[in-house]
Subunit: 214 residues, 2 copies
């Protein structure tokens, strides 16, 4: 992958295909168990390193979770947090909530925990004095970069947020300063769809959002 | 833009072009003053609405800032925050910091403030009980979606984070609950480069990030 020496021009065909990618991305919870192609995760992580970051701080930290005991502990934490979320649902929606599949932790072949170093030396503090959350935001964009790239290789990604972030830090045994941004499942998907699973399950509907002018 | 009825297959040419897009994206601070093409901002905002969001909550809120007095107030806030950041720099780096151009607020034809509704009714709270920051993260991904799409149309984006977020909420006169995620400048760029401006200015160097396995 040698970068071109002149800036690329993106034609209308690419623009339209990129729109297709955005529309077909999906947050996947139903995975096949077969492994990712050899070398792909490494390529995706290299691509993620090209994400923008505040002050060029690159504060994202990627940790693959392969150990069966650690994976079991993550699944147990998800089950506990999800049970608490179910209990907090209004009666009218609790039954619907209980039937949702909200994580692919059971079958996804690749588990990737993503953390942020909230006070990185890299970047020398630039751009994050008034909005320190911009450091976490950089890690979020690295995840999204990886997510889009994975989808073009036929690999789905599911972002699990129904977890106790401190507990995941403990399970993953990461440095004390790191904070969890997201726990990702990756793998081939059991199905493809242009609409979000939460929409197909009747939970919520995607819609145009309001826009203001000032 | 009718969506295809069957899932798209992304070939190696598209995968490579997407990598080009990630590498040539840039956080732009040097803009031409000519306006965006008619209809493009609307298209970009529609594309941003396809971003993933926790619980399908779509919590991002886009506000174009056109009023000259509001724009002047934003520039003044940036100048104040940037002066404070300069004063906080170590002596060894202060001179270098002072010479960086850290915002394109002076010339960019389009100013877009992006807020989050931290407690949206849409989504019914799903997925954000243990990690409420996932709501803000959704808005970050909407920005990144817009950013990538803009670049394919030849439009650069610069994310300004050296601002007092509460002050920007006041200037933009948004609902009390909203919080600033980022203030974006959009427009044609004065230059294209494959390396970040902070790297070319000798501030920081992009590098491969550490990866752990557990």
């Amino acid at each position: 992958m040698t970068p071109p020496s002149t800036p690329p021009i993106f034609d209308t065909r690419f623009q339209d295909r990129l729109d297709d990618l955005f529309r077909w991305r999906r947050d996947v919870r139903r995975f096949r168990t077969d492994a990712l192609p050899a070398g792909l995760l490494d390529r995706l992580l290299t691509t993620a390193d090209t994400a923008p970051s505040v002050g060029l701080s690159q504060p994202w930290r990627f940790v693959t979770i392969d150990d069966p005991a650690r994976r079991a502990a993550v699944r147990a934490d998800f089950e506990a947090c999800n049970a608490a979320a179910l209990a907090a649902q209004a009666d009218a929606r609790a039954n619907r909530y209980a039937h949702l599949k909200l994580a692919g932790l059971d079958r996804a072949p690749c588990h990737l925990a993503v953390f942020v170093e909230p006070d990185p030396t890299q970047g020398h503090g630039l751009g994050r004095q008034t909005m320190p959350e911009s450091v976490s935001f950089s890690a979020v964009i690295a995840i999204h970069t990886l997510w889009l790239s994975a989808r073009t290789h036929g690999i789905g990604l599911g972002w699990v947020s129904i977890l106790d972030p401190d507990r995941i830090c403990t399970i993953a045994d990461v440095p004390d300063s790191w904070r969890l941004i997201g726990y990702l499942c990756l793998g081939y998907t059991e199905e493809e769809a242009i609409s979000p699973e939460l929409e197909r399950a009747g939970w919520e509907t995607r819609r145009p959002t309001p826009r203001l002018s000032r």
